[in-house]
Symmetry: C2
Subunit: 150 residues, 2 copies
DNA sequence: TTAGATGCAAAGACTTTGCGCACTT
DNA sequence: AAGTGCGCAAAGTCTTTGCATCTAA
């Protein structure tokens, strides 16, 4: 059954509750984000949106994502050093990106519980658990470090 | 006494050891980074360099920083969402940036010991402790959350 | 109706690259 | 002397903005 529909309606309600308008472009962005299981770059989101609504421009997608972020619907992270990636805020998690093979995978926020508590206690800093992006090297690449990097 | 001079010489040796050339521009960048106690944007580094050597161009600074990063002399991080910031690799630490007031402060890498161990054990992921950039809200701003944000 | 949203195109911010000359080794 | 590194300027990415038009409420 389309559980996704519930999520979509929920998000649209959030938009309306904030007295923002629900437009075709916004609805399509929501649909794309909900059906996406990965975080996406703006470029990817735009491409997916335009597959359904070719008239939607990238600038609109940027504006919508900015609005959604203010509403807490999405969050973004700067993984490597290129474009930002966005995903629904619902799934609270961190990003782990391998510096070598650039693979990114997501991990449950629970892994940051201890750190979060520590930072709060030590520095009075409340970690944004939606926005944790870490880099390092994955197991595969460390095992493969024989020659020089590509 | 100029402890900084030791650091500078050490870095220049690192460059020479890698069979890279030590130039005026590189030397100046090193001096700027060593005398800086904060991490700096490329723009800030360039400005500081040009104060001594006006002829050094931004593109050269970019190239030098890229080289230095490969040599392990500097590391960079993407804090908020704007330009990257660089600093000497010697001081291993993480960055905490407040989403509200944008203040950034640095914390010892020891705070990531437990997380690092956890990620390695659970995901086989070796955290890059030079490159941890976290966002959240600082104590001051959380205390001030009365009205809407600026 | 009417304030807010969009499309398009241009501008902006940050970074990278090509080329010939200069400087390090 | 040989070859890397540099300055300059142009190109490239990613993102933001201005403005006339369109649309959700």
């Amino acid at each position: 059954m389309p559980r996704e529909v519930d999520t979509i309606d929920e998000i649209l309600s959030t938009i309306r509750s904030a007295d923002h308008r629900v437009t075709t472009a916004k609805r399509t962005v929501v649909e794309v984000l909900v059906s996406a299981n990965e975080h996406m770059t703006v470029e990817a989101i735009t491409a997916a949106v335009q597959q359904r609504r070719p008239e939607v421009s990238p600038s609109t997608v940027y504006r919508i994502l900015e609005e959604f972020e203010e509403l807490g619907i999405v969050v973004h992270a700067h993984l490597s050093q290129a474009a930002a990636v966005f995903h629904l805020a619902g799934a609270i998690h961190g990003h782990l990106t391998c510096d070598i093979c650039k693979v990114t995978f997501e991990i449950p926020a629970s892994h940051f519980d201890a750190l979060s508590k520590d930072l709060l206690k030590t520095f009075g800093f409340q970690l944004d658990r939606h926005h944790v992006a870490l880099t390092g090297t994955c197991e595969k690449c460390r095992a493969t470090i024989n020659g020089p990097k590509p």
